[in-house]
């Protein structure tokens, strides 16, 4: 098992496709927390986000043979989550609740972690007050550590547009967070 943990996503996918289906669980474990946070930032609802993440992993598995292993798996799975989340956003456009008390898994319980977590919650609240076209690239860049190129792949927008949206999002963030 420790050997498989050293493998890249793309190598694992190759093995899953050649009948080592159990290895898909490694992929799920690697991504489920990140994807859940991403989905929550998009839909602001824990239940919807859970379903989005689960459905995305299922869709990912079904379409695994359509994945090009020369490209990044993370961008591919984030794109699926984005699509699923957009479907939910369109469906429940009028009832988008603000997230109040969602807690993420944390093994450490130090004061520093607590402060970081508080900051993260604060940032997430600010993000939820912003229009989606700005909050999404900003959260991908800062919370998910994605590069401009990856964000461009996930959102299917040119890199220049990613840069502009992130820049505008930062200004918006400053205004919104200062008001709060």
């Amino acid at each position: 098992m420790s050997e498989t943990l050293k493998l890249t996503d793309e190598e694992i996918i190759d093995r899953v496709r050649s009948n080592e289906r159990d290895l898909y669980s490694v992929i799920i474990e690697r991504y489920k927390n990140k994807l859940l946070r991403y989905a929550i930032n998009l839909v602001h609802d824990n239940d919807h986000a859970n379903h989005i993440v689960q459905d995305s992993f299922i869709k990912g598995y079904i379409n695994l043979n359509g994945f090009n292993t020369k490209k990044k798996f993370s961008s591919w799975i984030y794109r699926i989550v984005h699509n699923e989340a957009m479907n939910v956003v369109k469906k429940y456009q009028k009832e988008v609740p603000i997230l109040d008390d969602f807690d993420f898994e944390s093994e450490e319980d130090t004061l520093k972690k607590f402060e970081q977590k508080e900051t993260a919650v604060y940032v997430e609240k600010c993000l939820s007050s912003m229009p989606l076209i700005y909050s999404e690239p900003l959260s991908l860049y800062y919370l998910d550590d994605k590069s401009y190129e990856e964000i461009s792949d996930i959102l299917r927008i040119p890199m220049g547009t990613v840069a502009i949206r992130i820049s505008r999002a930062k200004k918006l963030m400053r205004n919104i967070c200062q008001k709060n």
Partner: protein, 161 residues
Amino acid sequence: MSKELKNITDNIMNQIHDEKIKMHSRIYFIIGSILTFAGLVSSAVISVFLVGLIRFSLRSHGPMAGYRLDQILSGLPWWTPTLAIIGLVVGIWLLRKYDFSYKINFKVIIVGFILAVIVGGWVIDSIGLNDILTRRGPMQGMMRQYLNDNSIQRGPGWNRK
């Protein structure tokens, strides 16, 4: 952490083991790509021919603009643009369905497609390929029908093989 999230791995892996969810085979994606490509190519060919036909029709009806427009509208084989539009829509839908994970700029595809069709139609008509197609090519039957319906006089080389 929510309970549901903890169960996501188990839920999915159980469904995989019970074969409730199965991977689409590679052939599924290959066929999808071929169909998409074939759909786009056929709609492009039809559209190019249509542009050529419009230019041909404009030439064959003389200088009266209103008359020419009426002739084009009344004699236009409407199934061809309909088929082209359906082909384009289905092609893009298939592209989105089969290639949902990669960045594709559909605006560029559509604009490129339309430009290619117009330029292709103009070039085909200008170099006379349109005339050759009407005499020998696969569009011969349709073109004959169009010319007969619109009482357009055929040139001296019509029956030349």
